[in-house]
């Protein structure tokens, strides 16, 4: 569903992403992990059509993002890490605006909006300006908009930031339900427990290159450890010697 080939992004001499390959099949939840500055958000922004790659191709639901941007974007739902929205619109108005952007203008739109507002527990705030929303509420509203047009693939940057435990639980349930319906989900996160619990496969990016890929078991084997948690595996693969220094500094 999401197919990435030789994707690279350079900023002058600095290679933020250096030729990565990635496939996320329909129904798969794929975790995208890496330390700060590894190239996760750059990759995700390229997939969402917000950044122009230096080279490489991205295809969503069979549509090349460079050649058929509108068809590719119509098949994609995107949730960014920081939910910047139009503060002077109400939640309902924002969702209707979003529906319009995706060409949804029929009678079913109002029902779909109500359904999603109910699902993400925002129905009571449908008529309130977004400027009065908390970070978590904005994040849930972005999720509503991302799922509104029934995308075939979803890309999410840090899904749990700003969500309370109830919101985080809701999100996990929604992702699982979408996955069962055949939606491909690519999820970048720093919360390794979430990745371990949710993801079918995980890719770890470091210095703009994917250094490991597979199930949690595959990664554990790759790191050569027996620990049941993903954190030590991640630290071993991405270079966790800094932890020792932190311990000393504190």
């Amino acid at each position: 569903m999401i197919v990435i080939r030789d994707l690279a992004k350079r900023y002058g001499p600095f290679a933020a992403v250096g030729g990565i390959e990635l496939d996320v099949a329909g129904g798969e939840i794929h975790g995208f992990l890496g330390p700060n500055g590894a190239g996760k958000t750059t990759t995700i922004r390229m997939i969402a059509g917000l950044l122009k790659p230096t080279r490489g191709t991205i295809a969503i639901d069979g549509h090349d993002l460079a050649r058929e941007p509108e068809a590719a974007k119509r098949a994609l739902g995107f949730v960014p890490d920081r939910p910047f929205l139009y503060e002077k619109l109400t939640a309902g108005e924002f969702l209707r605006f979003h529906a319009g952007l995706y060409g949804l203008d029929g009678d079913g739109t109002t029902g779909r909006i109500a359904e999603l507002l109910d699902l993400f527990e925002l129905r009571l705030w449908e008529g309130e300006l977004i400027e009065s929303f908390s970070h978590g509420m904005k994040q849930r509203l972005v999720m509503c908009s991302a799922f509104l047009h029934r995308p075939r693939a979803v890309v999410i940057d840090e899904p749990m930031v700003g969500l309370d435990p109830r919101g985080a639980r809701l999100m996990k349930d929604v992702f699982r339900a979408m996955s069962r319906k055949g939606v491909a989900i690519l999820m970048s996160t720093h919360t390794l427990e979430v990745a371990q619990e949710m993801c079918d496969r995980i890719s770890i990016i470091l210095g703009g290159k994917i250094i490991a890929r597979g199930t949690v078991e595959d990664l554990r084997a790759l790191a050569g450890g027996e620990d049941e948690h993903l954190t030590p595996v991640f630290l071993k693969l991405t270079g966790g010697s800094a932890l020792q220094e932190i311990d000393e500094a504190l």
């Binding site: 969402a48 059509g49 917000l50 950044l51 122009k52 941007p69 509108e70 068809a71 974007k73 119509r74 994609l76 995107f78 960014p80 920081r82 910047f84 929205l85 139009y86 002077k88 619109l89 108005e93 209707r96 605006f97 979003h98 529906a99 319009g100 952007l101 995706y102 060409g103 949804l104 203008d105 309130e128 300006l129 400027e131 009065s132 908009s145």
Partner: protein
């Protein structure tokens, strides 16, 4: 060790230093342009005030009286500016600044926080007034050959003169925030300020000050001065400042009024500090409270837009832009000022007395029709740089929503173009048609002007939308900053060049045509061809001015990274 209050102002200074070091594209052009304009304005103010003061020397006692009255009026005007500016600025510095959370969470004594914010408010609220005062006071001093003590007195007068309204403004803001939420208070203040400016503009124009220049209205002059004397009261700091400086001009020291200024400034500062010590934290906490936003639903707008024959994405963009614009007080309130300026513009044509030169009035009217076309186009450029140029930047950090959606950048920019074109076209066409009617221009010119302003509106709105897309500033704190950016200035320069070229290309063949009609002579074929070429050149220039920036804008948006 606890640092003194100037330490808290260091981030402001460091920020300014870093901005100066990190030069952006267009900084040099902007500095030269704005610096040049500021220097020219200062030089003009200096020259006018110097000449006036010099002239008044010949009228002895009357001259002295007028200098004294002039100083009182000068300070009275600046006092009102300072009072309003202090209200708005203190709202921002004491209640809305992002860094307040950091400072309030730090172990900073409250009185130091107060003094640092008070100094910041005084600086931000007064720099413009002081900049204008400088050439005026310098010119008065030099024209009257004042002793060096005058310049020292000027400095010692301006400081307490600024502090008094700043202290009062800060306390008034504290009071306002205790009643209204901080952001609502800012909206109320902005609206009040704009309404005040609108009233002032209309009043000044309707008074018709040009009558003073005509010989027939000389008997009114004494009445005019009597009116001027009315608001000058010895109870206001502006009067004390004027008196102190007037005495200093003659080499004396007015201890009474200087003392009144300083004691009042210090007393008000102490009063402000005490008020803040008692009320500030409670007021600040109130300003942080989440409130239920009040806003207009704009249902009628939804119904109207839903019936427009547009594709769903374009309709959604249009409705979103209109709602955001109408719900932002800082945006729509500027339309009031625009309306006032448009009324003044039309009023000028209404009272224009061209019949005083009867044998020339026909020619002058027709020439004025082209001046009018140029002026109307200039007004529309000024509106476009404020409302259309920042349209793309107005998406701000939320632009990801449109960019990640299946809406092409071409559709997006065209939607911005149409949203800007319709109101601007109506305004420009209205101004041109009505003013030409008041002017009594020839029918041919009325039609030509109407057609020309429609074509020029399309070109200039296209230029603004395209250049706004090519030079966006998504991180700008407000849209006025976007209009004053490198791209905004470049747009205004190109717009003026375009207007001059089009008016010239239209004026020559039109006036030649009217002249031949008037004389009853046929137009020679070669001249006819040249006239047609001139009109076609105007049309071609308009098409290029629209098309090239729009295309470049779309490309720039598509290659954003």
């Amino acid at each position: 060790m606890t640092r003194s209050f100037p330490y808290l102002l260091l981030p402001v200074l460091w920020g300014a230093r870093n901005r100066a070091r990190r030069r952006e594209k267009g900084d040099a052009l902007r500095a030269v342009l704005f610096g040049g304009i500021a220097l020219v304005v200062a030089a003009v103010i200096f020259a006018v005030v110097f000449w006036l003061t010099w002239q008044l020397l010949f009228y002895e006692e009357l001259g002295d009286y007028l200098v004294r009255l002039g100083l009182s009026w000068l300070f009275l005007t600046f006092l009102s500016f300072l009072a309003f500016s202090a209200l708005v600025t203190s709202l921002s510095t004491f209640f809305l600044s992002e860094d307040l959370r950091l400072l309030l969470a730090a172990p900073v004594p409250r009185d130091r926080l107060f003094y640092s914010r008070y100094a910041k408010t005084a600086g931000q609220a007064s720099w413009m007034v002081v900049t204008f005062l400088l050439p005026v006071l310098l010119a008065v001093g030099l024209a009257r050959c004042a002793p060096p003590g005058y310049y020292l007195a000027a400095l010692l007068t301006v400081v307490p003169f600024v502090l008094i309204p700043v202290a009062l403004g800060s306390v008034a803001t504290l009071f306002l925030v205790s009643i209204f939420p901080a952001r609502r208070a800012r909206d109320v203040l902005m609206l009040m300020g704009l309404l005040f400016a609108v009233a002032l503009v209309l009043l000044l124009r309707v008074l018709r000050p040009e009558r003073l220049l005509s010989v027939q209205s000389l008997p009114d002059v004494t009445g005019f001065f009597a009116t001027l004397q009315t608001p000058v009261t010895p109870l206001l700091p502006s009067f004390w400042a004027g008196e102190t400086l007037f005495t200093a001009l003659g080499g004396g020291v007015d201890w009474l009024h200087a003392g009144a200024l300083w004691t009042t400034a210090l007393a008000f500062t102490v009063f402000a500090r005490m008020s803040f010590a008692r009320q500030y934290f409670a007021a600040w906490s109130k300003a942080q409270e989440a409130r239920k936003a009040r806003f207009t639903r704009l249902r009628l707008l939804e119904v109207l837009v839903s019936r427009a024959p547009l594709r769903p994405p374009v309709r959604s963009l249009l409705l979103k832009d209109l709602k955001i614009f109408l719900r932002d007080t800082t945006q729509w309130s500027q339309l009031l000022l625009l309306l006032a300026l448009a009324l003044v513009y039309l009023y000028n044509f209404r009272v224009l007395d061209l019949e005083r030169i009867p044998y020339m009035s026909g020619v002058v009217k027709n020439v004025y029709a082209f001046v009018n076309l140029g002026l109307a186009a200039f007004v529309l450029s000024a509106v476009a740089v404020r409302f259309v140029f920042p349209a793309v930047s107005a998406e701000g950090p939320a632009f990801w929503i449109v960019r990640s959606s299946p809406v092409g950048m071409r559709s997006f920019l065209w939607s911005k173009f149409w949203t800007g074109l319709v109101p601007i076209l109506l305004l420009a066409l209205g101004l041109t048609v009505v003013s030409n009617e008041f002017l009594g221009a020839a029918t041919f010119l009325k039609i030509l002007s109407a057609v020309a302003i429609v074509v020029m509106s399309v070109s200039l709105v296209g230029l603004a939308a395209g250049m706004g897309a090519k030079h966006p500033r998504f991180g700008a704190e407000n849209l006025t900053q976007v209009a004053g950016s490198y791209g905004g200035i470049a747009f205004m320069i190109l717009a003026v060049l375009f207007i001059v070229a089009v008016v010239a290309l239209l004026a020559w063949p039109s006036l030649a045509y009217i002249l031949h009609q008037y004389r009853g002579e046929p137009i020679p074929p070669l001249r006819q061809a040249l006239m047609a070429a001139s009109l076609l050149a105007a049309l071609a220039l308009s098409a290029v001015t629209f098309w090239v920036p729009m295309r470049q804008g779309v490309r720039a948006l598509e290659s954003l990274g």
